[in-house]
């Protein structure tokens, strides 16, 4: 049949040599998986998946403008997403209010990005890459940036982990216990802005959710144990990105479809397995006559 298309999608000629070429991308991808996997559960508990999408469009705008005026693309991307994250964090306290702010910002950012790209005279691959991801373009200085920013995000998350968990699941009670809920929210939005900015470099602005939300959503289908959610989420995210990069080597296609497909497949399996488990009543509940069966309908992710 259409063998041509298939070999275009999956081809492993000269695989070893290619792996060496994309070494930087693989390192960046793995680190990105760690960042996305760790921050993802918070994104979901804090009801921010849409915000992630909004921030990534603004990050795209920042990167495009940077490309146009000839400054560092990572810097542009960071400026765009941190600005967006702060605006959303400061103005959008309630979900509904926040969603409309995001919906206002997002098309504006996307438009700005498209304008900058239209004016940009350089390589076309650079343009497309910002939206849908790229493989070989991670050079050494860029890798340095990505690692540095990722380290900042991970360290920040580790420092605020526990109070952030409290503030995310139960803001009122956390505030009563003296947890600086408002301050943590701003710190988290900054970290999220940085995480989005680095993700945009690899998977592209349109597909950031597949790294920052899908792995965590998959993990949450399997467990709610505070230790295992981030661990599984990291494993899923790293598998998606690194696996996606390796599979993308053969054909000359962008890496994002591979990353998003793996990430989606993992989620699908987790959903089915998780559904079976709760149907068999493995809810961590000791035998108790007449105990209400947990409702599973509420998960949107």
């Amino acid at each position: 049949m259409n063998l041509d298309v298939l070999t275009h999608i999956l081809s492993f000629e000269n695989f070893g040599e290619l792996v060496v070429l994309v070494r930087n991308s693989i390192i960046a991808g793995a680190v990105l998986g760690v960042v996305g996997g760790l921050i993802g559960p918070f994104v979901i508990t804090r009801n921010l998946p849409f915000a992630v999408h909004g921030i990534s469009e603004l990050s795209f705008a920042g990167a495009s403008i940077a490309l146009l005026v000839g400054v560092n693309v990572v810097t542009g991307s960071v400026v765009g997403s941190v600005l967006a994250a702060l605006i959303i964090g400061l103005l959008g306290n309630r979900a509904r209010e926040r969603n409309s702010i995001i919906a206002v910002l997002m098309p504006f950012g996307l438009g700005l990005g498209i304008l900058s790209l239209a004016l940009y005279q350089g390589r076309a691959a650079n343009k497309f890459g910002l939206l849908t991801g790229q493989i070989v373009s991670v050079d050494n200085p860029q890798l340095g940036w990505l690692l540095g920013i990722s380290a900042v995000v991970v360290v920040t998350l580790f420092v605020v982990w526990r109070p952030l968990t409290f503030a995310s699941v139960d803001p009122d009670v956390a505030a009563a216990a003296g947890v600086p809920v408002r301050g943590l929210s701003i710190v988290f939005m900054l970290a999220l802005g940085l995480a989005v900015a680095v993700s945009v470099q690899i998977v592209g602005a349109l597909l950031v959710l597949s790294l920052l939300v899908t792995p965590a959503a998959a993990a949450l289908r399997l467990t709610v144990a505070p230790l295992w959610v981030p661990i599984l989420s990291v494993v899923f995210a790293v598998t998606s990105v690194v696996g996606g990069i390796l599979l993308a080597l053969g054909g000359g296609l962008p890496i994002s479809p591979y990353v998003t497909t793996i990430s989606f497949a993992i989620w699908l399996v987790c959903r089915i397995v998780g559904g079976r488990r709760s149907a068999r009543g493995r809810g961590g509940r000791a035998q108790e006559p007449g105990a209400p069966t947990p409702s599973r309908e509420k998960v949107a992710a």
Binding site: F166, A176, A286
Partner: protein
């Protein structure tokens, strides 16, 4: 009582624009005392709690907790809010939720020491959560969730338990269970309780004193002193009847069209209460 009060309000006033919720409120809450804060919707009951939590500044007077002016949140205050739906996918089990009361304010990853683990285990047992300790919080019934919240609030060895309508949406059996739990805790640990509710009946046996707020005024006394037709009529400025029937207290009147079953319900829902975030 001779003991130093846990909570002390002096001339406390709360005003929003030209609307006064309460003013000149003096109140000393002794250790182990159970205070019920009653009144119609919008009278400023929850606002009073927010003021004690330092989340809402007074427009006059002062509040001291453990002899210090209140600040935003306090480790020695346990807060038990209304039961609310925990969304499925909330990454916590019952035990983890209770543990947040101990480690939730601490920066870092929140590893529990051996002593803290033991403390969480004993809290789980204390509030009767053993059977569902490892169940996801999203799978808990209202009563189970409130038990977990009591455990969480008790975790930090509070000197004061602030309860904001914790019995709402619970059935009678669980209302009784949660009330008994709180009552028993204040007796054993000496924590004072300030309990905001629109219905005094489930907690009537436990209450030492009542703060009844209505129409910008308040009255303080034992349930028998305050829950009287003449006292409440005077407070509301309109005829109110207090009926004692079948071990329940039913307050009728307060505003013409709103003689609800067991509480006086004002039409104005101007409660200036919002989420803290």
């Amino acid at each position: 009582m001779s003991a130093e009060p846990v909570l002390r309000l002096r001339g406390a006033a709360m005003r929003f624009g030209d609307r006064e919720l309460w003013a000149n409120l003096d109140l000393d809450v002794a250790p182990g005392e159970f205070i019920a804060v009653l009144g119609p919707n919008g009278a400023g009951k929850t606002t009073l709690l927010k003021a004690v939590l330092g989340q809402q500044a007074l427009s006059g007077g002062e509040i001291e907790f453990l002899r210090r002016p209140v600040r935003r949140g306090h480790r020695r205050i346990g807060y038990i809010p209304q039961q609310r739906l925990m969304e499925s996918g909330t990454p916590l089990r019952t035990r983890d939720m209770i543990a947040l009361g101990i480690t939730g304010h601490r920066f870092g990853l929140g590893r529990e020491t051996r002593a803290e683990k033991a403390r969480v285990d004993s809290l789980v047992e204390q509030v009767g959560a053993t059977t569902f300790a490892m169940a996801p919080v999203a799978s808990l019934s209202g009563g189970e969730q409130q038990r977990a919240r009591v455990g969480q609030a008790l975790a930090s060895d509070p000197a004061l338990l602030l309860c904001d309508e914790p019995l709402i949406s619970l059935d009678l059996r669980h209302q009784r269970g949660v009330t008994e739990l709180i009552d028993q805790q204040r007796r054993t640990t000496g924590a004072a309780v300030v309990f905001v509710t629109h219905d005094v009946n489930p907690i009537l046996d436990a209450v030492d004193r009542v703060v009844y707020i209505a129409g910008g005024r308040f009255t303080i006394g034992t349930p028998d002193e305050v829950l009287q037709a003449d006292v409440l009529s005077d407070l509301y400025g309109t005829p109110v009847d207090v009926v004692r029937t079948m071990g329940r207290i039913v307050i009728v009147g307060g505003s013409e069209a709103h003689d609800h079953d067991h509480h006086v319900d004002h039409a104005d829902d101007l409660d200036p209460e919002g989420p803290v975030r």
